[in-house]
Amino acid sequence: MNKPLPQGINLEQFNGAIAEIIKIIGDEFVFTDDIKELRSYRDPYNTTRDEDFAPSAAVAPKTLEQIQQILAVVNQYKIPVWTISTGKNFAYGGAAPRKPGYIVLDLKRMNRIIEVNEKHGYAVVEPGVSYYDLYNYIQEKGYKLWIDCAAPAWGGIVGNTSDHGAGYTPYGDHLLMQCGMQVVLADGTVVETGVAGDSKASSLYKYGQGPWVDGLFTQSNFGVITRMGIWLMPEPPGYTPFMVTLPHEQDLELITDLAQPLKLNMVIPNAATTVDLLWEAAMSHTKAQYYTGKGPMPDSARKKLGADLGLGVWNFYAAVYGPPPIMKNNMDLIRDTFSKIPGAEFHYDDTRKGTPGWDYRVELMRGKPNMTEFSLLNWVGGGGHINFSPISAVDGKDSYRQFDMIRKRAHEFGFDYIGEFLVGWRDQHHIFMLMFDRMNAEEKKRAHDLFDVLIDDAANHGYGEYRTHLSFMDKIADSYGWNDSALLKTQHKIKDELDPNGILSPGKMGIWPKRMRDDS
């Protein structure tokens, strides 16, 4: 097998760069063997050819100084590096780079929890710290703080936050809870944001003086984040999770409109979810138990599945937190509101505990990491998936329009609609989990084609996606093309200024360095 090399780099140059990086971090942390060492830097869920995202090497520095030295080397050779933290961004590309031949800059060895401040409710972590790591640390220390984790929770805090990930507690908007960061620019310059000279205030006050630049380093390739502050929620005196099952498809519109003022006014403080039947069922069951035919599951089978498992066509999860009188007050209001929906049923721990779908949501809404959501991958055999994730207002008509649009297309291409709406403060993320058999080439291609069409459909309805798989970053960047792509052109100007050799994650979210722009 030929070694995938970066565009314009020959093997001699590549070997020269690798030899220099070995001098910096040691042979043990430079990985070049495609079979033994680099398989974990491929994307197991890609919908095209495996080699489309094959790195040439991976390097794992331990310190900021080592990153600076590595960047000096790759600047000299003009070899692109693709930065990852823990590399668990599955469904969006995992640890794999945007183009073959890049060197993966793997920061998982930078895994220090630098500080947890119980009084002020924050942590400062390096990129290799996973949600499990921080949770376990807080438990060991006995701090009365909650984290907010992604599902599944094996990913890293820095990586998820910088990719605009979301969780399920009241601190579910991860970037909103980010405060202060340290970044290494392509030329090795180290930048720290926040408040000058005061590490504590830097984790409490985002803006310092002048333009707030932290966002520039998220979903981008303008620098390498090496440290980040994240706010942590004080452990509340009480927690009441609940679920509302809804019997009809059209109830999606109602529940969204009824939830919107409750969310906006923080009666429901956490990131609520409206989850479809199949997502819920897939936690404990497989499709073949109810339907062995080809194509999407028919309504008759769906009805039986819902009845057997006591699930609604939609299932709304949320929680209230605080002293019991406040929780009671808010729950009364929530019950009154949602009881207006005919057939809506409330569920709590007493009736749902022990049900996998309920149990893992209850944990997530109180920031306890788990991996249960991976059970979805057993819905069909060979569980590959990529996520199509358009944003909308918390508005019933938008919810139903997106659901209807995606479901029709999914069925047209022979896939089930498996989705959830993550209801934020004012917006909602719609996650369509496009499941396919990753061992089936025809099915992978069909999934790819469906995703491609969905981007166009969404754009035609005025919806943009918040995050996407490597394969579709350029296309989605193009869908943000208002005013002759002024936004992307601005991003490119910044890229050219901060990274003139184009070494940092070329192509991330459609942002390419000048020398690769014409070929991208």
């Binding site: 060492e37 991996m371 991976f374 055999g381």
Partner: protein, 197 residues
């Protein structure tokens, strides 16, 4: 050459005994002896997985559904046993997660196979080396409904020095109905620096 006997006669290094709901739980059994350390995962909800795990130890420990609860066990095993093997019969999602974790410890997938039952037909799709894949697929087919026992008996023969990437299939009549999870995966993860054969 490693044999099943060397695994079975080994002393039980540690039992993991965490209370767990019966449904969808995993069974993990850890055997260690002089030559080889072995960590076995089995989906407790699957009779085939239970049959497999029973071949290695009389002791069983129940660990709850969420594969995340196994991370500490898995990572500790890999750290403490640089030449250890990890094998199991699990749901595909659990295998995927363990496979990713294993790669961080320098492990590769020496063998994996999906096992499905449909209309009284048991199908195995084996991924292994070019030489071994068809042999293993045929052997599993010949073993009929006792295929988990055959796998346990022949665990040592499943290893490959590099990642498995060739597939072969076999089909056979089965008396059993479709299992709880329908698609089960059997697998073997070994360190890439393993020199045993």
């Amino acid at each position: 050459m490693l044999t099943r006997r060397t695994f079975i006669k080994s002393t039980l290094a540690a039992n993991i005994a965490l209370a767990a709901p019966a449904s969808l739980a995993l069974t993990a059994i850890k055997n260690t002896q002089d030559e080889q350390a072995l960590l076995i995962f089995a989906d407790e909800n699957s009779s085939n997985a239970s049959l497999f795990s029973k071949q290695f130890s009389e002791a069983e420990a129940h660990i709850s559904l969420d594969i995340g609860l196994h991370f500490d066990t898995f990572n500790a095993f890999c750290r403490e046993n640089p030449n250890g093997w990890v094998s199991g019969i699990t749901r595909d999602s659990d295998f995927f997660v363990l496979q990713q974790l294993a790669s961080q410890h320098g492990y590769h997938t020496a063998y994996s196979a999906t096992h499905t039952v449909s209309n009284n037909t048991l199908a195995h799709q084996v991924t292994s080396s070019a030489e071994k894949a068809p042999l293993l697929a045929r052997a599993l087919g010949n073993a009929g409904d006792k295929w988990p026992t055959w796998l346990a008996d022949n665990l040592a023969t499943l290893q490959n020095t590099t990642a498995a990437d060739n597939t072969a299939n076999s089909r056979t009549q089965s008396l059993s109905q479709a299992g709880d999870n329908h698609v089960l995966v059997s697998w073997l993860l070994i360190p890439s620096n393993s020199t045993q054969s």
